[in-house]
């Protein structure tokens, strides 16, 4: 390419480029370079602006700084925990308009929870699932519940063939009904697979989740052989007046979007000595709850005297949830 004197015209006065009048070739290159620079700067600035755009729409609704920097539940000391609980109550007020009390319920010494369910008595009315939905502040839109009631063929225990979507008068004479919820395993696969230790087993046997530490990878959901874990695809929608204000950090406080949740045997009730909501809702009395370490407890009488089995025993998960039949 042969430079011509007129090519300098592209770089007019005031452009700031220092060019040797005797070397027209440089002038041509400088022009292209400047053009590319300008284009690059423009593109870069646009990309930068785009990258920062989420910051502009950053609000408390997404994530506050305090929330982002919050320590793991088990690493919080008393003051930090109190501050976290207070912050969560305020956030619930702001997001849902409800006045709630979020408490930290710890296990009692000498208590290990066990749950038993009498398959001869359960009629499959699903009132337990409904009670769970309301007690645990589940998302109304997805009608979520920690309990899935399976309709099973009599004489079989093939869960693959079970139907959770039955809608005919119950009990059907050819069927039996098996509600399945978290089995609070003593060897919990969900806990083993969690990459960030956001879920663990507490002293009273309850497998809990720190909803604020969970990264939502859903490994635990895949690992659970009982399909007992749920994922919050959306921010839970609950009308203000339907929110259960009696909440606990590890239990039924309203979960954020993008985290796992699970049955905790209603630890906000049971660690206060009360029965779980699903048991109280059962119209037939098919459910038995209590302390496995107390030889006089109802749950121990069931285990000692009834024909008891656990679900998928061959997997070695060692559930604390027992099913039994009457003779």
């Amino acid at each position: 390419m042969e430079p011509t004197p007129t090519s300098n015209g592209g770089c007019g006065s005031g452009c700031g480029c220092h060019q040797d009048p005797g070397d027209g070739g440089d002038g041509d290159d400088a022009t292209r370079r400047n053009l590319l620079k300008a284009a690059g700067v423009t593109l870069g600035a646009a990309a930068f602006a785009k990258a920062l755009a989420p910051l502009a729409s950053w609000s408390r609704e997404n994530l506050s700084v305090d929330e982002f920097l919050q320590q793991h539940y088990r690493e919080l000391d008393k003051e930090q925990l109190a501050a976290v609980l207070k912050r969560m109550e305020d956030d619930t007020k702001e997001d849902y308009g409800a006045d709630v009390t979020i408490t930290d319920h710890r296990p009692q010494k000498g208590v290990k929870f066990g749950y038993a369910l009498n398959l001869s008595i359960c009629i499959g009315c699903r009132r337990c699932a409904e009670a769970c939905h309301h007690e645990n502040n589940h998302d109304r839109a997805t009608a979520n519940s920690y309990i899935r009631v399976l309709e099973m063929q009599k004489g079989s225990i093939d869960i693959e063939q079970a139907n959770a979507h039955y809608d005919h008068p119950v009990p059907h004479p050819d069927k039996f009904y098996m509600p399945v919820q978290c089995q609070q395993c003593d060897n919990p696969p969900c806990v083993h697979v969690c990459p960030v230790e956001a879920t663990w087993k507490e002293e009273d046997g309850i497998v809990v989740v720190d909803y604020n530490w969970c990264i939502g990878c859903r490994y635990c959901e895949a690992a659970c052989p009982y399909h007992a874990r749920r994922f919050n695809w959306t921010k839970p929608e609950i009308p203000e007046e339907e929110i259960n204000p009696d909440q606990s950090y590890l239990s039924n406080r309203i979960r954020p979007q993008g985290v796992m949740e699970k049955c905790t045997f209603c630890l906000h009730r049971t660690r206060e000595g009360r029965m779980p909501a699903c048991l109280e809702a059962c119209p037939t009395g098919a459910r038995v709850f209590g302390n496995l370490l107390d030889p006089e407890s109802e749950i121990r009488k069931v285990i000692d005297n009834k024909r008891v089995f656990v679900l998928k025993e061959e997997l070695g998960t060692k559930p604390s949830f027992f099913y039994f039949f009457d003779e």
Binding site: Y73, R74, E75, L76, D77, L81, D104, H105, R106, P107, Q108, K109, V111, A116, N118, I121, I123, C125, R126, R127, A129, E130, T142, S145, R148, V149, N163, A164, H165, Y166, D167, H168, P169, V170, H172, P173, D174, E203, R271, E272, G273, R274, M275, L279, C282, P283, T284, G285, V288, F289, G290, N291, S297, E298, K301, V302, N305, K306, D326, E327
Partner: protein
């Protein structure tokens, strides 16, 4: 060489001790690692059984001038009539109790109702028993259920699993089982689950005639 190994093991051992002591110390001010510090007394709260609303009376279906239902004591009519020991269904009655569903094995009315005192019930050995104690009557035949009830594995309840912390209320037999047709009624299930994304739809349910 040997001495070196001993020293390493000793250092490791001391280190482990110190670490465990530190962990204990740290756990003390980490509420998430501690037990509940609530002090629970040893006194047990009561277990109450819901009292049956049924009694030795019958609702006439009429209202008095204040709009209150007219309740008539059983003895009002039965004191002056002779009992028929053979009656075992409502259709055999000429008046009153008509249309009452009755399906309770091969029992007749006088199996449970006291023929000389309609304000109470009767055990199999003719002993009189109050309506409030009717569970005793049920238990005569339904032994396994009564045993399970006493063991806490039959019958619904509300309240506290831990009686040291609060009371419990248990259902009575007749909260779930109508003594005249005790089979638990068939009902429509509530709260159908929504299908999850990707969840397989099972083949349509074959409805049998029931």
């Amino acid at each position: 060489m040997f001495f070196g190994v001993i020293v390493v093991i000793a250092i490791w051992f001391v280190g482990a001790l110190v670490m465990s002591w530190l962990a204990q110390y740290r756990a003390r001010d980490r509420p998430g690692r501690a037990f509940s510090d609530k002090v629970i007394g040893e006194t047990l709260h009561p277990v109450t059984i819901r009292q049956p609303s049924a009694g030795p009376w019958v609702d006439s279906g009429k209202k008095d001038e204040k709009g209150q239902p007219v309740i008539i004591s059983c003895a009002t009519c039965h004191d002056t009539r002779d009992p028929d020991f053979k009656t075992n269904e409502a259709a055999l009655l000429d008046e009153f109790h008509q249309g009452m569903a009755y399906q309770h094995g091969s029992l007749s009315c006088m199996s449970c109702h006291h023929p000389e005192d309609y304000n109470s019930l009767k055990l199999a050995d003719d002993r009189r028993v109050d309506f409030a104690q009717s569970m005793q009557l049920c238990a005569q035949c339904h032994g396994p259920q009564h045993r399970d009830y006493q063991n806490g594995s039959h019958g619904g309840m509300t309240g506290y699993w831990d009686l040291r912390q609060g009371p419990r209320e248990r259902n009575h037999c007749i909260d779930c089982h109508d003594p005249h047709h005790p089979k638990y009624p068939r009902l429509m299930p509530v709260f159908p689950p929504k299908r999850e994304i990707g969840e397989a739809v099972p083949p349509p349910h074959e409805e049998s005639n029931y």
